[in-house]
């Protein structure tokens, strides 16, 4: 398609800055200008990553974390979509639940941790629940807002052609909210990755969050940075997969992105 060539070179441009910084930092330490004890050079971080990967630990932590994010994302996105659709479509539902949800949304994520541990124990359930909470809100807000904001003019087109309730939903309303829904899923996924760290801080023996805590307690900054980098890569990859899946659904969109 048109525009794929320039966008690829843009993607490469995005790698330039971190690469440059890494090279500079490496050079600074090698030349003795800086001490790399607390901020290890890229070569050390790379070696740590390699060690972790060779022993299979890295894959284990990645899979554990990904599994939690996916489970929490699925749960949060499902509930967010259903409840958001209810609140967007029915004024009664919105009046009833929206104020409560808005209040709950203002609660910082970490505040839930003690309660969830009390309720659900320190194992997987409480972690997945916490991530689901994080994913829920952006999806809920996105879906409810998108449904409320559907263009009345397009609904009228459906009415003129006498669509029944079901046809109106799947031929007009669903496609109309699709872009906003996907954007809300993307920000939900991003928050899911944020919340998984909080979840894994509250006591885990596996996962990238555990790697972070372990690195701190053992005084291994390279391990912390390795985990952070892995988080960045995983998060970006997951978002990329979501974008890729949704792309064929949104080819019709008239956005600035397509013109780049």
């Amino acid at each position: 398609m048109k525009g794929s060539r320039p966008s690829r070179s843009f993607a490469l441009a995005g790698v330039l800055l971190p690469l440059l910084l890494a090279v500079l930092w490496e050079a600074a330490i090698r030349s003795g200008l800086a001490v790399g004890r607390l901020m290890p050079p890229p070569s050390t971080i790379g070696a740590t990553l390699w060690e972790l990967a060779k022993s299979g630990e890295l894959q284990l932590h990645c899979l554990t974390t990904l599994g939690r994010v996916l489970a929490g994302f699925a749960l949060g996105a499902l509930l967010g979509t259903i409840i958001g659709a209810g609140a967007g479509a029915l004024v009664v539902v919105r009046r009833l639940i929206d104020p409560t949800l808005q209040a709950l949304r203002a609660v910082p994520s970490i505040a839930w941790v003690p309660l969830f541990i009390l309720w659900m124990g320190i194992f997987e359930t409480s972690k997945v629940a916490l991530i689901a909470v994080g994913v829920f809100f952006p999806v809920y807000l996105g879906v409810a807002g998108a449904i409320e904001g559907i263009d009345r003019k397009l609904i009228e087109v459906g009415q003129v052609f006498r669509l029944n309730r079901w046809a109106m939903i799947h031929r007009v309303m669903l496609p109309a909210v699709l872009p906003a829904w996907i954007i809300s899923l993307r920000s939900g996924l991003g928050l899911g990755f944020m919340f998984v760290v909080a979840a894994e801080f509250m006591g885990a023996s596996e996962g990238l969050g555990f790697l972070l805590v372990d690195g701190q307690q053992m005084g291994k900054p390279a391990q912390i940075l390795a985990a952070i980098i892995t988080f960045a890569v995983l998060g970006k990859l997951a978002d990329g997969v979501l974008v890729m899946i949704s792309k064929p659904l949104l080819v019709w969109q008239d956005t600035a992105r397509g013109a780049l």
Partner: protein, 261 residues
């Protein structure tokens, strides 16, 4: 045949948009509604389309009372209102979901050809110009072969040249099934080019003021003698429709003297 009987509409906020509109439009007749802004033209079309409910009066099509959107009534809005997630073909065939795919496709392609967009069926609406989008909207309304077709200033956003070519496309499509057409326009020449009858409306509340028949042969020539006559009659009526009502009769005599034909 479309029949409006004592149609009135008062909006929830108390605006009296229409008062006592009675009108008959024959089968295959093209009727143009002209009038100042806010005199209820859009309101009238929305009532006929079943998108709004009248406060009083009745609408019938071939004797059948219209209570909501009806299969035999189609509408083209002022904006194209295409569904951006459907291709041109998908938009044109939006009202043909019940048809077999082949029949559907054949009708879509035929309608697109008639509006001069053959080969555009797989495009997205965003890839079309404003005039092309409006042509797709016209094709979408015609393709279900409605008995009554409503057009609400469908060409008002377009330049004069595009407009003239769309008039031709519209008449081509109309000639196929000869539906009853009610069209709103701000353009007096457009009304005379297309319509058999022109209804001039008066605002606050919206009422019918005068009906002018246009009996020129089609295709109509803007330079023909009768065209100019009709134009002057309509402009004159429009003029009066915008004047305060009390002074209208007195004004009428003076005006008539200078414009008499």
């Amino acid at each position: 045949m479309l029949r409006l009987n004592g149609l009135s509409k008062t909006y929830a906020d108390g605006t009296e948009a229409l008062r006592d509109i009675s009108l008959q439009v024959g089968k295959g007749e093209i009727l143009a509604l002209v009038g100042g802004s806010g005199c209820g033209k859009t309101t009238l079309l929305r009532l006929i389309a079943g998108l709004d409910v009248a406060s009083a009066g009745a609408i019938t099509v071939n004797g059948e009372t219209i209570k909501g959107p009806h299969a035999s009534i189609g509408i083209v809005f002022q904006e194209p209102r295409l569904l951006p997630w459907l291709t041109v073909a998908g938009n044109v065939g939006f009202g043909l979901a019940d048809l077999a795919p082949q029949e559907r496709q054949a009708r879509i392609l035929h309608a697109l050809e008639k509006v001069g967009l053959a080969g555009y069926d797989q495009r997205w609406p965003r890839e079309l110009s404003g005039g092309q989008q409006q042509r797709v909207a016209i094709a979408r309304a015609f393709v279900t072969a409605p008995k009554v077709l409503l057009l609400d200033e469908p060409f008002s956003a377009l330049d004069a040249f595009t407009r003239a070519s769309l008039h031709d496309h519209l008449l081509l499509l109309w000639a196929e099934t000869k539906p009853t057409v009610v069209m709103v326009t701000h353009d007096v020449e457009e009304a005379i080019t297309l319509a058999d009858r022109v209804v001039v409306m008066r605002p606050r509340p919206g009422r019918m003021m005068e009906t002018i028949s246009v009996t020129l042969d089609r295709p109509r020539d803007r330079l023909a003698l009768g065209f100019d006559k009709a134009k002057r009659r309509i402009l004159h009526a429009l003029d009066r429709s915008l004047q305060p009502e009390k002074s209208a009769p007195a004004q009428k005599g003076a005006d008539n003297a200078s414009h008499w034909w």
